[in-house]
C-alpha cells in the first residue's frame, strides 16, 4: 500500500499538523504527497525534506482559495490516475470538509479523529478516542478506497530527506466545485505562533479572575517563547479571543509543554489538550480535575507563582 498524504499550507508554509501525518505515514509505506494551491513556490521541496517519496503539485489559479470542493476534483482525479487507494489528512476546517466530500463522491469509507493507524494484512485498522476520550475505538474500512483524518497536531514532523520527485498534476475542475467564493482571506495572525503549531502553550482560565489577569499569562508565554491559549469559559466571558480557545469546541493542540494557569480542566477542555507532551497545572483548588492528568500539578495562588516563575525564566535566559 502506498498512502497519499494531503498537505495543507498557508502563507507559504506547510502545516505542521499535515507534515506530522506525512512523517507518521512512512510506517505504512513510502508516502506520496499532494499539494494543491496556486503559486506554491518551494513547498514541494519542503515536502520531500519531510519524507514525501513523490510530490504531486496541483497548481491552478482556481485552487488559490483554501476551499474543499475544487480539491475534491483534484483528489478524485489523482487517485484514479495514479492508483492511490488510501488518503491521509490532518484534521482542519479545510481537510475535514474535503475528506467528507471526497468520501461521498467515491463512496469510500472515512474514519476521523484517528490517533493511530496500522496494517493488518490487507486491512487497515485505525484507533479513535471516543466519548470524550473515555474509550478507544478500533475502526476499519470495507471499501477499497480508504480515507483517514488524523486528530490535529498529534504527530511530530520528522525531517527525513527524500530525493525531490515532483509531478505537476494538471486538473480539471467542475464548474459546480467553484460555487463558493472567498471574499476575504484569513488574515495573518498579528503576533506569536498559532496555537496549533506552538511547541509551548500557556493557557489561562477562569481562575485568572478577570480579563486583565491574562497579562500574567502573556508574560509567562513570552518568557517561554510560547503561544497563549484560553478556555471556553473565558472566551465566552470576552476575556480573550475565540481563536485561542482550546477544547471540544475550540482547537485541539499537542505542544511539548502545556502550562495551564487557573484552569479546572473539565472534560471539554481536556479533549483539546491532553495529547500535549508535558502538562503543568497551577490551580488553587486541590480537587480540580486537571490534577488528575497533569504531569506536575501545583496547588497554590497563581498571582504569586506565575510572576515569580516568569521572573525566574527571564533571569535564567539573561545569564
Amino acid at each position: 500500500m502506498r498512502p497519499l498524504v494531503f498537505l495543507e499550507h498557508h502563507g507559504g508554509a506547510l502545516s505542521r499538523s499535515s507534515l506530522g501525518v506525512l512523517s507518521y505515514a512512512s510506517s505504512l509505506g513510502a508516502p506520496a504527497a499532494l499539494i494543491a494551491g496556486h503559486e506554491l513556490g518551494a513547498l514541494a521541496a519542503e515536502a520531500a525534506r519531510f519524507g514525501a517519496s513523490a510530490v504531486y503539485v496541483a497548481d491552478d489559479e482556481r485552487l488559490a482559495a483554501p476551499l474543499p470542493q475544487p480539491r475534491v476534483d483534484v483528489l478524485e482525479q489523482l487517485m484514479a490516475a495514479e492508483g492511490f487507494d488510501t488518503v491521509l489528512f490532518a484534521q482542519s476546517v479545510l481537510a475535514s470538509d474535503l475528506a467528507a466530500a471526497l468520501a461521498a463522491r467515491l463512496e469510500a469509507g472515512l474514519n476521523w479523529d484517528l490517533v493511530e493507524l496500522h496494517g493488518e494484512g490487507e486491512q487497515l485498522v485505525g484507533r479513535r478516542p471516543a466519548l470524550a476520550d473515555s474509550v478507544w475505538v478500533e475502526v476499519g474500512w470495507s471499501s477499497p478506497q480508504r480515507l483517514a483524518v488524523f486528530r490535529s497536531g498529534i504527530f511530530e514532523p520528522l525531517e527525513r530527506p527524500a530525493p525531490l520527485l515532483v509531478h505537476a498534476f494538471p486538473v480539471e475542475i467542475r464548474p459546480r466545485s467553484l460555487l463558493v467564493e472567498l471574499l476575504e482571506p484569513a488574515a495573518e495572525r498579528p503576533s506569536g505562533p498559532s496555537i496549533e503549531d506552538a511547541e509551548v502553550i500557556v493557557a489561562g482560565g477562569r481562575g485568572l479572575g478577570k480579563a486583565a489577569g491574562f497579562a500574567l499569562v502573556e508574560e509567562l508565554a513570552a518568557a517561554l517563547g510560547g503561544a497563549v491559549a484560553a478556555t471556553r469559559a473565558v472566551v465566552d466571558a470576552g476575556w480573550y479571543p475565540y481563536e485561542t480557545q482550546v477544547g471540544q469546541t475550540g482547537k485541539t493542540v499537542a505542544p511539548k509543554l502545556y502550562l495551564a494557569v487557573g484552569i479546572s480542566g473539565a472534560i471539554q477542555h481536556k479533549v483539546g489538550m491532553q495529547a500535549s507532551g508535558t502538562i503543568v497545572a497551577i490551580n488553587k483548588d486541590p480537587h480540580a480535575p486537571i490534577f488528575d492528568y497533569a504531569d506536575l500539578g501545583v496547588v497554590g495562588d497563581l498571582n504569586e507563582i506565575v510572576p515569580r516563575l516568569t521572573e525566574l525564566l527571564r533571569a535564567a535566559q539573561a545569564r
Binding site: A100, A104, D113, E243
Partner: protein, 254 residues
Amino acid sequence: MKLAVCVKAVPDTLGGRRFDPETRRLDRSGELALSEFDLHAVEEALRLRDAAGTGEVVALTLGPEQAREPLRKALAMGVDRSLLVSDQAYAGADLLVTAAALAAAIGREAPDLTLFGQQSPDGEGACLWAAVAERLELPVISQVAELTLEPGRVLGRRQTEYGYERLAAPLPALVAVSDSINEPRYPSLKGIMAAKSKPQQLLAASELGVSVASQTSVRGFAPPPERGERRVISDDGTAAEAILSFLRERRLFA
C-alpha cells in the same frame, strides 16, 4: 424563503453515553435530546425566517423513533414542521449512509438554505454537511460564526486555523454554523403548546430510495492509555522554583 435544519438526537448526557458491546454501536435506546450544537442551527434558521417576515423552517433528522421528542423541542422553539427519517435499515449508519439519506430528504424538500450544527456531540464528527452537499451537488460553507442573506446568496464569516475569512455561496446552499453564532432561545410555554399541533412527518428508507452502504466498521474497544507518573505539590513559597526545575528535568527549558 424555505429553510431546513438538520439536527441530531443524541443520548441525553455525556455521562450516559456508552457503546453497546453487542452491536458496537452507540447505545441510543434511552432518552434522546437535541444536540446542543444543533440548537444554534435551529436558532439561526428561526432568526432568518423572522427577519424575512416570511418563510418556513423544517427540521430534519435521521434517527430512531425516540427522536420524535427532540424534534418536538425544535418545534417548540418555533420550527414550523419536522421530518423524521427512521428505519431499522439505518441503524449503525456511517457517514456515507447518513449523508445519502439526509441528501435524499433535503432533495425532496428543496430548501433555499440548509443549516447544520458544528459537530456531533456523540459521534464527534464535524463534516457531515460536506458529504451531504457533495451528494446534492450544492455549495457548502462550514464553521460559520456570522451569517448574512442577500438576494440569491448567503455570506458567512468563519474562523479557520489561520484567522477569520469571509465566504459567499449562491443559493440553494448548505451552511454549518459554529456555536458562537447565537444564543439559542428556550421554548416558551406557548411554543410548547403550539408544537403539539405542528406537522410531524415520518419517512422510511424505502420511501427515499437510498442504496448506499456503510463502508466503515467498529472492530472493538480498548481502554485509553494511562499517562505516566504524576506529581501534585502544594505551594510552600517555592512552587515557581519547583516548576522551573521540573521543566529542566524534562528538557523543556535550558
